[in-house]
Symmetry: C2
Subunit: 338 residues, 2 copies
């Protein structure tokens, strides 16, 4: 491995001069610049970023904790994150978590052992041991939540997201406005606040409209295709058939659409379906999916911009930055038949 020393020797200058050349070629005298340039060219020298990072005390890495790298919504958010990361010369380290949580121990380890300059959580952080209870908690790395809300147990963390409660209310209200009264909800996973917020919105809207909410109309779909399919089959085989199903994300809505058709029912004539996220597939499902659109890439971009500001030592507060959502009406919803 060729190091700065080899270049210095070859160019007959000190290592400091080479270092300065790398940082800013204009800062050294013409005469030396030529020799250093030549030495670098002939040795093929490139600064060892391991040494640079060590010396500078920074990793240049942003860790992104994501519940499911396969979900098209999350990958859109990631694309926004990646765009800003590249622009600001950070790399993205992906950490997929089962169960949607990053254990606090792992969080702590990442921070203490300097494996990342900052963390974006698309998942929640598991509040086993809140930061404040640990010794030396001043050393915490910048963290920001994308999409997720915070659990009450944790200190308020900054976030960038839509208002999930309001958006879910809006989706439910739309079904109610169409005349639906028997509306089922397929939820995500228990540990996800995002899911909880959407369920809250659904319950709020049902309560406000004075609609009966049968317990068996809320089914867990684990935010996955398979989970939603199982949940849908339960709904279809139940005693009280809903006339509309609200799925907590589009991935699940795709599974729901399929199972309804497999059961020999039609969407939307027999059952209306509404999703959440407006992933790229929502436009091409059969029928195209009515859903709540979120500006996924923008959420990713804003999240990382804010995180980087924090990494640079500026104050970003701990507020939730709310971005707008929008109901997108396609053809998977209509008024109930009866």
């Amino acid at each position: 491995m060729v190091s700065i020393k080899d270049v210095a020797k070859l160019a007959s200058v000190s290592i400091a001069t080479v270092s300065r050349y790398v940082a800013d070629p204009a800062s050294i005298r013409e005469h030396n610049r030529e020799r250093v340039e030549q030495a670098i060219a002939s040795t093929g020298y490139a600064p060892n970023s391991l040494a640079q990072n060590f010396r500078r005390g920074r990793t240049g890495v942003i860790m992104v904790v994501i519940p499911n790298v396969g979900d098209p919504f999350f990958t859109d958010v990631m694309r926004g994150i990646a765009r800003v990361a590249e622009e600001k010369h950070y790399s993205i380290l992906i950490r997929e978590t089962e169960m949607n949580t990053l254990s606090f121990d792992e969080y702590n380890d990442i921070v203490l052992s300097k494996r990342a300059d900052g963390i974006v959580l698309l998942a929640s952080i598991c509040p086993v041991t809140p930061p404040r209870n640990r010794p030396e908690d001043r050393r915490s790395a910048p963290v920001i939540l994308s999409c997720e809300n915070v659990t009450e147990e944790l200190a308020q963390l900054p976030s960038v997201r839509i208002d999930n409660v309001a958006a879910a209310e809006e989706a439910t209200d739309y079904l109610i406005k169409l005349g639906h009264e028997k509306i089922a909800f397929i939820s995500g996973i228990a540990t996800s606040t995002l899911t909880a917020d959407r369920e809250k919105g659904y319950r709020n809207a049902m309560a406000r409209a004075n609609l009966e909410l049968r317990p068996e109309w809320v089914q867990e779909g684990s935010l996955s295709l398979g989970g939603a399919r199982r949940a849908t089959r339960k709904l279809l085989n139940g005693v009280y058939l809903p006339s509309a199903i609200f799925c907590a994300n589009d991935e699940m809505a795709m599974g729901t659409l399929h199972e309804i058709k497999v059961a020999g029912l039609r969407v939307p004539e027999d059952i209306s379906v509404i999703g959440f996220d407006d992933v790229r597939y929502a436009e091409i499902t059969d029928p195209p999916l009515t859903t709540i659109a979120q500006p996924a890439e923008e959420i990713g971009e804003r999240t990382l911009q804010r995180l980087i500001r924090a990494i640079e030592g500026r104050d970003i507060g701990s507020t939730a930055e709310i971005v707008p959502h929008q109901l997108v009406v396609r053809r998977s919803t209509t008024s109930p038949a009866d």
Copy 2:
């Protein structure tokens, strides 16, 4: 930041002892172990991985270059990669590339400046300057191709993948066996060898069956939903309507299915569609998609296992490790009407 020195001082031992404790607690004497444990606990010490990596000359990072993080096939491969990475204590650095290629300059930079211990290419590497022509090319980091084949310009690189040519032949043969003669192909992007191989398989099969291959039956779909939709519209609006369309991946097949239905035609009665990859959505499209299944996660796992062997200094050769594919017949294909 608390360092090994602080711990050593507090425990009244040398830093070497602390270091040894961290590497293997059993290697130090009971008496000292207790003191060190206590000192670590009370200071909240964690080894600085920046310093460790620097000292050890390794990053603990595998870079994964991926053309499109949103494609469900690639995310499945990534999941396999991630599983092995976690097991072997590597982190995954994602680098998404437009146009499917990593420029050689960037590759070189990653290697020379030690930003990753190894590279997995789900994309191709752009052969602007083949490694062999550069000075000091001995320093190349381990690279392995997943899915992709190699271009002839580049030295042979190790890879793990299916036999794309054979698989595409098999898909085309299946359509031919069903009685189709007017078979169109929606290809990926020009820079992708994966795409080229599948097109070759299609052409082979057509030639072997003595079927006419009209130039307008091969359309570029850029491996994306939108690209496939445009390509499909061209096929449907053309003078010679095909009776079957073979899409180079499932993502595109989903777009194709949609556009055929939008045009008022039925799948498979009017047009059969066959995809490639068997992503999780293939089962729930309408109708469910006939496709070629690849063991995506297994490909990812094997790729990384082999790469890690190379990183550890063992010889992995430069052969293509071929894993089996399989035709999965669902309901998007049938015999032509006429």
